[in-house]
Amino acid sequence: MSLQSLLFTIFAIGAVASAVFTITRKNPVASAMSLVAHFFMLTGLYLTLQAQFVAAVQVVVYAGAIMVLVVFVIMLLNVGREANAEGPKSIRPTLAMLFAGILVVMVSSVIASHPTGRNQLHEKATEIGQTASIGKALFTQYLFPFEAVSLLLLAALIGAVILAKRHVSETQP
């Protein structure tokens, strides 16, 4: 077994396990920590694909910024362990998991027949994953989407402030 296969196996199993942990834990903080582990596993997978820039951004943006927001909101709302729903237990979650299992088996069986037939990375893969080539494409071919995304982030910033702001009239007794 080559080093690449070994790393891929470790990161793939880790990614699936931490994703399952994320959606099964009753405690939201445990879910959030599993999600951080999941992001680090994905970083490893990106590195096996020679995508260094995306791997770095994954750690900084997801494991850093977004998860800090999530943990902060969990702390702010002080949500504890999830209580079981009162009333008769719905059959829908079980059905959902059943159909999801069927879907993943179907998709995997189709893909496992090697429809792409690609077993090697492209020879330019290392060059493409570097910051220089990403930056060059970002400021030439993808300049308009880049500017649009900056506008989107500004709108999100303002929207978040307005949504989360406590109205003055509410604070009066």
Partner: protein
């Protein structure tokens, strides 16, 4: 630099499995914050297949899309969590099945 010997299909299967785990999380959980985290799982599954295609086809477009998806996910995190906060302030709960004002 030795090229990897893992087929593209393995990355796609892994991506499909992770996406379905995210969908199951959205459908089965009641806590709005955990539903939000499941959506992040789905976004990351798509990112993985984009990066895999980008590296195997030798095209930078896939990684550009991942960059923009990450920016949109950051915006979504800010707005989504602000909505959860506003919801908690009005209804004192983050469980989505207790927010049934518009349920017929």
């Amino acid at each position: 630099m030795m090229p990897t010997s893992i087929p593209l299909d393995y990355y796609l299967i892994l991506s499909a499995v992770l996406f379905v785990i995210g969908v199951v999380g959205v459908v089965t959980r009641r806590n709005a914050i955990i539903i939000f985290m499941s959506i992040e799982l789905m976004l990351n599954a798509v990112n993985l297949s984009m990066v895999a295609f980008s590296s195997f086809l030798g095209d930078v477009a896939g990684q550009m899309f991942v960059f923009f998806i990450m920016a949109v996910a950051a915006a979504e995190a800010a707005i989504g969590l602000a909505i959860v906060l506003a919801l908690f302030r009005n209804k004192q709960t983050v469980y989505v099945d207790e927010i049934n004002l518009m349920k017929w």
